[in-house]
Symmetry: C2
Subunit: 459 residues, 2 copies
Amino acid sequence: MSDFETDVSANSEGGFDPRRISLVRQALGQGDAGQLTTLLDPLHAADIADIIEQLSSFDRRKLIDVWYGEIDGDILSEIDESIREEVIGYLPRHILTDAVRELDTDDVVDILEDLEEPQQAIILGALTDADRAAVEQALAFPDYSAGRLMQREVVVAPLHWTVGETIDFLRNADHLPDQFYHVILVDPRMKPQGYVSLGRLLAAARATQLRALAEDSYRTVRGATPEADVAYLFTQYHLISCPVVDADDRLVGVITIDDAMNVLDEEHEEDMLLLAGVGEESSISDGVFETVRQRFPWLFVNLLAANLSALVIAQFQSTIAVFLALAALLPIVASMGGNAGTQSLTVAVRALATRDLTATNAMRVVRREAAVGLINGMGFALMMALVGWYFYDSLALGGVIAVAMVVNLLIAALAGVLVPLIFVRFGMDPAVSSGTFVTTLTDLFGFFTFLGLASLVLM
Amino acid sequence: MSDFETDVSANSEGGFDPRRISLVRQALGQGDAGQLTTLLDPLHAADIADIIEQLSSFDRRKLIDVWYGEIDGDILSEIDESIREEVIGYLPRHILTDAVRELDTDDVVDILEDLEEPQQAIILGALTDADRAAVEQALAFPDYSAGRLMQREVVVAPLHWTVGETIDFLRNADHLPDQFYHVILVDPRMKPQGYVSLGRLLAAARATQLRALAEDSYRTVRGATPEADVAYLFTQYHLISCPVVDADDRLVGVITIDDAMNVLDEEHEEDMLLLAGVGEESSISDGVFETVRQRFPWLFVNLLAANLSALVIAQFQSTIAVFLALAALLPIVASMGGNAGTQSLTVAVRALATRDLTATNAMRVVRREAAVGLINGMGFALMMALVGWYFYDSLALGGVIAVAMVVNLLIAALAGVLVPLIFVRFGMDPAVSSGTFVTTLTDLFGFFTFLGLASLVLM
């Protein structure tokens, strides 16, 4: 039984026990390497990596000083990129090279991508010639492409083989990939022609032809295909693995669903962070200055936009001087427009990412947004008219803010869906800075409508 | 070769050709069922479902009238929940029952969850007794739990079997699940003890003991475990499948990675939509009134909050009357605070979802946010001081807005991380309405600091 992890209940909750981190800190305080091993050794590499991430920079340094001998390739792979460079910098050279040699080449590529030149050279130098060639070939594919994502070890069988021949081949193979879910069928020029799931292979009689078992959901991608498209294929067609081919349709590797799931996760994160105006690669473990560097530029653009709005308001100073209540109502206009715009924008960006919003239904979605903006606008117009009338004692003011609210929410709804659509039309990421665009538009139009109307009606 | 889809290039792009929708519309206009079949039949069910989603409600109805005979369980499973009920409503009863009978019970559960009582009854009535019992057992688990997600068909082998015995058993099995990646090892009481990947099974000699091949990454979950925790386990430990056990640790089903990937996708969508103040289940194919119903309440809360801010401003009317430039600068205060708060909030919500932000590092993250807020605040304070001095011709005004900017960005950064942490502390979803909370806080404090200082310094 020693081969199995039988402690089901401990596994059921997911994640590690936060109390373990306190114990790790204690052991670090005492410089007790034995105690560290007792605490960390039973854990999955992903959990050890999480603990390393959550320690302060000071404790992290100390942990590596005391425990570096135990840090292997798996742990290194699992550590978040934001602190991986730091950890690699602390590791003695021989530990680093041992760790890297253990890894599959796709994991080495994943680590290398985020490192600076000198560290890259150390790692490349640690690899065998064959592995280094494989890694360099992968790096020749564009960033964020299928070629970067794939593993180069593939399990293939000629089209004409039977189940029995395939099983005999697998039993005699020197080395098979850790993870494989299909046997890829290839023609004599290594062009993939389909694949057979291992489940079907196991269930079939030895004499069965492989081609009779091939799966319907078979797809291939080219090495240069963007990884976002790869992730889309996996979700859309429920793929488990997907062969990668070169420009001549020859098999060069395979992507498995766990890699696609990672990409999906990163794409989501990127959309979410970009929409919020945060650098796409920001992480909770970034330092203060790294965080300032990521956030400052977005806030700066926002400051310029806000000053533009302030200019609009300044044009109406004489009106505001007479009706001071207008000043108090300005933030309501800005806030409602901004929020309604963000609602439409988020739904649109999400639908673009899942490809549920396309050229086909764009006009219908724009019409729907306009209708929603109008209806919501009229509802809030009524409320604000009452507020204006009752609290600010002016029916005219109530009327002005009511009309402004309708116009504002209509523009917000339209801007929310049109801005990302226009971005996509020009080949840009719909999430990048579209938030600032939308709120700037709603602010400018909102203030202009509200104060312009006020000047006309009240003065 | 007819068994394989060999048109690699057509597959490489991902997704269907939008031109095909125009052709579908044409065929619908002519009521040409044969042409529809020519267009749709070669497609994957997921692509057919996308086309059905992207048609207008009118065209959708027409498509089902003409083409209902071809709509099967796979297509029904793939259709977005927001319009599935509509489609099911149009389908003749016998088509619906045929479609449902084809499906695995976990897909039936997935469809049933979103339907109203009468439609549920029709579908349950269509099932065989055994399937109905399975579906009803799954529905007995809480919403969004592992028990709802799992498939009940499992491939198991006794702990003491050899590879040869297992392969013989699989070859003779009447019916195996469509998707399985592991053989689960069980003891005589059906308690799972580990699992063997099909790859290892295939590569091993017939005499090898299964237990010698069991995988390290093995985990189980209980049926009542929330699906979000299940998705976390899959990403954290790179699982491909995960056995589900009951309260007595007996095997009741298995969850595969494609289901976990769906959950991950939905969780992300939920966080993103909730942060934007949109109902968590909104979709691009929702109708106008459904969309209004989702968005109105959030905007209403926002309106109340904005009126609160207006009240704060109204307290300073006499100051604004003297320095009208203050009115123009108010939106800058609101906009910078709101944006900086959203930045911190989004990073915090995301880190909570990925469990990178925990009790262990919360204090360090709060300190980091405070430092970032202070540094950014001082940067923008300098700029706004210059703006105040140069454009509004008042060094005092520049000083006031500078100090307000520092306080504002500090509060925004702190609120952005503290609000979701406090929500979690009280067992609430950190994404729900935390955006409104944060911007309300930054508006109130921002206006109060800015106008309060202005009253003190300028008057």
